[in-house]
Amino acid sequence: MVNRLHIVTCSLLCALQLSATSLDSNALRSSLSKPQFDQTLSTLRDDTSDQSEFWYWLNLARMQQAHGDFNASINSFQKSFEILDEYENRAKVSLRNIGSFLGSTFLSKGAETYYGKGYERSLMHTLNALNYAMNGNFQGASVEMRRMEQRQEFWLSETEAKIKEAAEEQAKAEKEGNNVSSIPSEYSMAAMLEDPSIRSLANSYQDPFSYTLSSIITDIAFPSEKLGEVSLKRALSLNPDVSKAFVKLPKPAVETVAKPKQPPVQKGKKGTQQPLVQAIEPKIDKMDVTVVVLAGEAPAVKIEKIRFPLFNGANYASIDLPAYNPPINDVSVVTISTNKLILQPPRLLQTNAMAYKTLKDEFVGELSKAVVRATAKAVVAKQASDNFGAFGGLMASLAMDVGSSIADSGFRNWELLPNSGYLSKFEAIQGETLTITLNDRQESFTLPKDKKGVLVLVSYITNDNIRIDHVEY
């Protein structure tokens, strides 16, 4: 008996130690400021414990992009793409999928492997497109944008299937006498899920930011073909503010000069009435400037436990539901200025809204599964209580709680996904100074000359950790 206890303790300690060697979600998100960033990136890159996880490569890819290492970021995105591709191409009856399903149905939500929500799977291509673009490979960037659009089309049918599945779960649970239609009042996300801005979203995966960027990148890659128009129309239908992202230079003041005297028209020859003054438009060398600001970090998923007592409080069971820690380090004001323009680009990417909308859509299904898990745990606690007394029941409840907590701690999402995306494409004069203001921080640089355009990527990780890269074309 003592030995058994010893083994259980050792296993628990080992599990805790294993989880302690890698950067957990809170540690990762709290060490992104400028003085810590390089060390955090290095620790994450050298961590081999989570390399089979989809979210690990996505987090690493964002950090590498924000560090200006676009090739490394492309490689990391490729790894996450391979993990997702392997998952999507598994056999119709996959033993791993069955194991994961059984684990998440009866034991813990954390037994599920996280393969990303629709918006994350789309945005991984959007961010990777920026990597290719910053390397000057706009054709490669357009490939990623097409992948993004294809994923969004795929999610159209996938989400409908998920909503249908959730409705079926609800019907099944209600048939068994469980009420899963109302959100538990103790649940921290209860108010957020009922927020009108979340309820009114068209869906949880289509974002106007990606579609707008797609139209811009495609037009740069294939200037003679108007391939970006469809994407732009999609973006506009999702958010009318997209029109504010495109700004042209104001027309220059027309200068009028007196025309030199014309020789008199000879008789018999046809002459046209010439104006006495001529309008001259001053020649300016314009260029297109596209500024992309990726700011902050998206909500981080967590498993929230709502505990409730059983059998006169002698032991307890818990409902575990996915929830989110709020987004962090986001920017509140973005202003772009040149000699002739002052712009406030629209916030087209709102990751937090998409995350909450996803949770809202899947909530009934999640609650139904949570009720099944809680029932299974309550049955075990009851058995322990009947056989070993109240103390045995309490110990069983505690053991199940600790076990699922360890599993839950490994359930993570793309925690470093940008929470906001601002986009603006405008005309500027070659060689003039471009100033970007982010909250109270101001960054300036001189636009190049003799180029058709420039794409500027602003990675705003924290208020003291901002990086600006640009590529000319």
């Binding site: 030995n3 191409n89 056999a91 119709k92 009856v93 357009s142 795929f154 391939l227």
Partner: protein, 205 residues
């Protein structure tokens, strides 16, 4: 620690090692004593994935080169025309190295002896810089000879991808055009179509 406990721990460790090795995904095998590296037939059909692969590259180059050489603008020309190969646009869902396609076509056409090639736009600057180093005076006539082509070859690679729960279907279309740069007239065009279908296995890990 009792022998029984040690045995159970050892068994757990061995089982864990087996499980972990079973979980490891495939990939390039380690090169060592038990290396799996071997030479394969470069022209054998490659069916590892549904992505655009080496077999597709070879069959595309073969088909389109043959078709191009049969056109009267090449086969009945008084002297081998000067041709410039432009970039083939990648309009697919994959990162295809389209330069590999144009390189393959260029080599096949050059080997036929029926055309002469000018350096492509990307290499033209390097060639020009080399000339500046080796010649004292680069005349406009010489420069014109470097840049004037009789024909331009351009093209696109497109794909259509469809998938459901069971099947993934990818259709590729590689098209090339021979264009007269003076008139803009398309003198020849042909395409190579490829279709690849993959289906999920019924039961698996």
């Amino acid at each position: 620690m009792t022998t029984l406990t040690k045995l159970s721990l050892s068994t757990t460790l061995i089982l864990s090692s087996f499980l972990m090795s079973g979980c490891a995904t495939g990939g390039a095998g380690m090169v060592g004593a038990s290396s799996n590296v071997k030479y394969g037939d470069a022209k054998a059909a490659e069916t590892v994935t549904a992505d655009f692969g080496s077999s597709d590259l070879q069959s595309t180059a073969e088909t389109l080169t043959q078709s191009l050489l049969e056109t009267r603008y090449i086969s009945k020309a008084q002297q081998p025309p000067k041709v410039r190969l432009r970039t083939v646009n990648n309009l697919t869902y994959e990162h295809i190295d389209t330069k590999a396609i144009t390189d393959k076509i260029r080599i096949k056409l050059l080997k036929s002896g029926q055309v002469r090639f000018l350096a492509d736009t990307a290499n033209l600057n390097q060639v020009s810089a080399e000339r500046d180093l080796t010649t004292t005076a680069t005349t406009k006539t010489k420069m014109k000879a470097m840049t004037d082509s009789d024909y331009i070859i351009t093209g696109n690679v497109r794909s259509i991808k469809k998938a459901n729960d069971d099947v993934k279907d990818v259709y590729y279309n590689v098209s090339l055009e021979l264009v007269d740069p003076q008139s803009g007239e398309i003198l020849w065009a042909d395409e190579k179509e490829i279709r690849k279908v993959t289906s999920k296995s019924s039961v698996g890990w």
